[in-house]
């Protein structure tokens, strides 16, 4: 569906994208993950025809985005990074205007606009002025605008930024639903977002792709086994020796001790879940298990790891 080959983009002398290539199949939900300034927005702007590339080739549904820009644009729904909206219009006026620009016929327009607004949960505020809406609802209007007219491809630049946790979950579910019928590319800084919504991750850093994989593979590949933080009431060194003797555990590091309560970080062997054996070992020895928490792998670590690997090879 989307085919990007050797894409480069220079802003005057600054190279924002350095030879990027990837493919997106029809019906995939792809997460673009990367730190600030990685080139996510730049890539999306090129895909949507807002900016021209310096070199390389981008095809959407077999059409060159530069040569057949108009045709390509009519297949894409796009939510730019800052969710720009016409503040003085009502929700309905705005979505209808965009529908009109997408050349949806007058007969169909009303129905399509209504559907897009309802899908994004803004149907009940359709007559409100956009400037009076909260950030989250503005974001939804932005998505409704991208959605209207049923485009085959959705490109969403940081769709959940600035939303409260409930809204983030709702928007993620919405995107997941949309992904059943459409090809979706979204960008984000948040790893959890990708695992929650996408079936493919493209990690980009400093204008280069450092990894393309499924979220599950990526997490397990990069985290190198599960990590568990535990807090136990008991003698610290004894606990350590005991845990290190367990089969599933690779390494135990001491993180602190205070008033007979030890905090330890346990690294499991690859592909093993050590939580149950830890619990039963602690209980068997008559120590008190105060807390056990699975440590999530965070983006920073993945990046450090990926960029390190990159330099080695």
């Amino acid at each position: 569906m989307i085919h990007v080959k050797n894409l480069c983009k220079k802003y005057s002398s600054f190279e924002a994208l350095k030879d990027i290539s990837f493919d997106v199949e029809k019906g995939e939900v792809v997460g673009f993950l990367g730190p600030n300034g990685a080139g996510k927005t730049t890539t999306m702007r090129i895909l949507t025809g807002y900016l021209p590339m310096t070199s390389g080739k981008v095809e959407i549904d077999g059409l060159d985005v530069y040569e057949e820009s108009l045709k390509v644009r009519s297949k894409i729904g796009y939510l730019p990074e800052t969710t720009p909206l016409y503040m003085d219009m009502t929700v309905k006026e705005y979505v209808s205007y965009i529908a009109e620009l997408k050349k949806i016929s007058k007969e169909e327009r009303k129905e399509q606009v209504k559907k897009a607004m309802n899908d994004c949960g803004v149907g009940h505020i359709k007559d409100k002025l956009i400037k009076t809406l909260s950030k989250g609802f503005k974001q939804r209007v932005g998505i409704a605008q991208a959605l209207v007219g049923n485009p085959e491809v959705l490109i969403l630049d940081e769709p959940t930024i600035g939303l409260d946790p409930n809204q983030i979950v709702e928007i993620r579910n919405l995107i997941k639903d949309l992904g059943k019928e459409k090809t979706v590319i979204l960008s984000t800084h948040i790893l959890q977002e990708v695992s929650a919504t996408c079936n493919k991750v493209i990690i980009i850093s400093e204008g280069k792709i450092v990894a393309i994989d499924s979220p599950e593979n990526l997490t397990s590949r990069l985290s190198g086994g599960m990590r568990v933080d535990i807090t136990v009431k008991g003698p610290e060194s004894e606990i350590r020796t005991c845990l290190e003797g367990l089969d599933a555990i690779k390494e135990v590091k001491e993180a602190g001790q205070e008033g007979g309560i030890a905090t330890l970080r346990v690294f499991a062997k690859e592909g093993q879940d050590p939580r149950e054996v830890i619990a039963s070992a602690v209980v068997r020895n008559g120590w008190g298990l105060k807390e056990m928490r699975r440590e999530a792998v965070n983006l920073e670590e993945i990046f450090m790891k990926l960029t390190k690997d990159d330099k080695k090879s």
């Binding site: 802003y11 900016l51 644009r73 796009y78 800052t82 997408k102 605008q145």
Partner: protein, 235 residues
């Protein structure tokens, strides 16, 4: 039709913001003031002097009409939404141009009230009045084309207005250069000046060449405007 959709939105947008009302009201007020003062002083049933004063008023008000057209959308980022829809650059430019032109035509039409006053209480020669209005309309179209171009150059509406005003003023007075520099009256500066073509209209003469000149002026600057949006992409 995209041009029409864009024009409709832009025209509405003028009335969402207070600026259209302010410009509209003040233009009418000033035009009315000039009209009545001139009428009282000259006791002549003619719009000739008033029309020159309309032009001066327009010089100040046209930039206020055009300043927001691109600058505002660039600042708020909505241009990115607009330009990534299946819309040609030229359609965007024309939509915005016709919206501004319609607003201006509306302003101009409301000054016809003063013509009504003349007709009611005097016996004006209608020929020069109609040709004068045609001249004002065409001149306004040129000012608006210049103003739209200025609006593509910056994100700041204030700068767009100032630059637009400077362009308009320049093309209005550039003909005076020929006199100052000692060129003959047929010099290039006279030809490209907007004012030199305006005189005939006010005198009641519709010169075909003047009409063509104004129309080409508009087309040229709309073309430059389209190019100017394209240049943005290459930066």
């Amino acid at each position: 039709m995209n041009i029409f959709a864009i024009m409709k939105r832009e025209l509405k947008a003028y009335f969402y913001s207070p600026i259209a009302y302010v410009v509209f009201a003040l233009f009418l007020l000033l035009a009315g003031y000039f009209f009545s003062m001139i009428l009282l002083l000259s006791k002549e049933a003619s719009m000739r002097a008033a029309m020159y004063n309309f032009v001066i008023t327009l010089l100040f008000f046209a930039p206020l009409i055009t300043m927001r057209l691109f600058a505002e959308e660039r600042k708020t980022g909505t241009l990115e939404v607009l330009m990534t829809r299946p819309v040609r650059d030229i359609e965007v430019v024309l939509g915005k141009f016709f919206a501004a032109l319609s607003l201006y035509a509306l302003m101009l039409a409301s000054t016809l009230v003063y013509v009504g006053v003349l007709v009611k209480y005097g016996n004006p020669d209608m020929g020069p009045i109609w040709s004068g209005y045609l001249g004002l309309f065409l001149l306004g179209a040129c000012f608006i084309a210049l103003g739209i171009f200025a609006s593509t150059l910056t994100e700041s509406q204030i700068i767009a207005a100032v630059v637009g005003f400077a362009f308009m003023l320049l093309f209005w007075v550039i003909g005076w250069l020929s006199g100052t520099l000692g060129f003959s009256t047929e010099s290039i500066f006279t030809y490209i000046s907007l004012s030199s073509h305006f005189d005939d209209f006010v005198r009641g003469i519709i010169d075909f060449r003047a009409v063509i000149y104004y129309l080409s002026f508009v087309v040229f600057f709309l073309f430059v405007t389209v190019k100017s949006i394209e240049v943005r992409k290459w930066k």
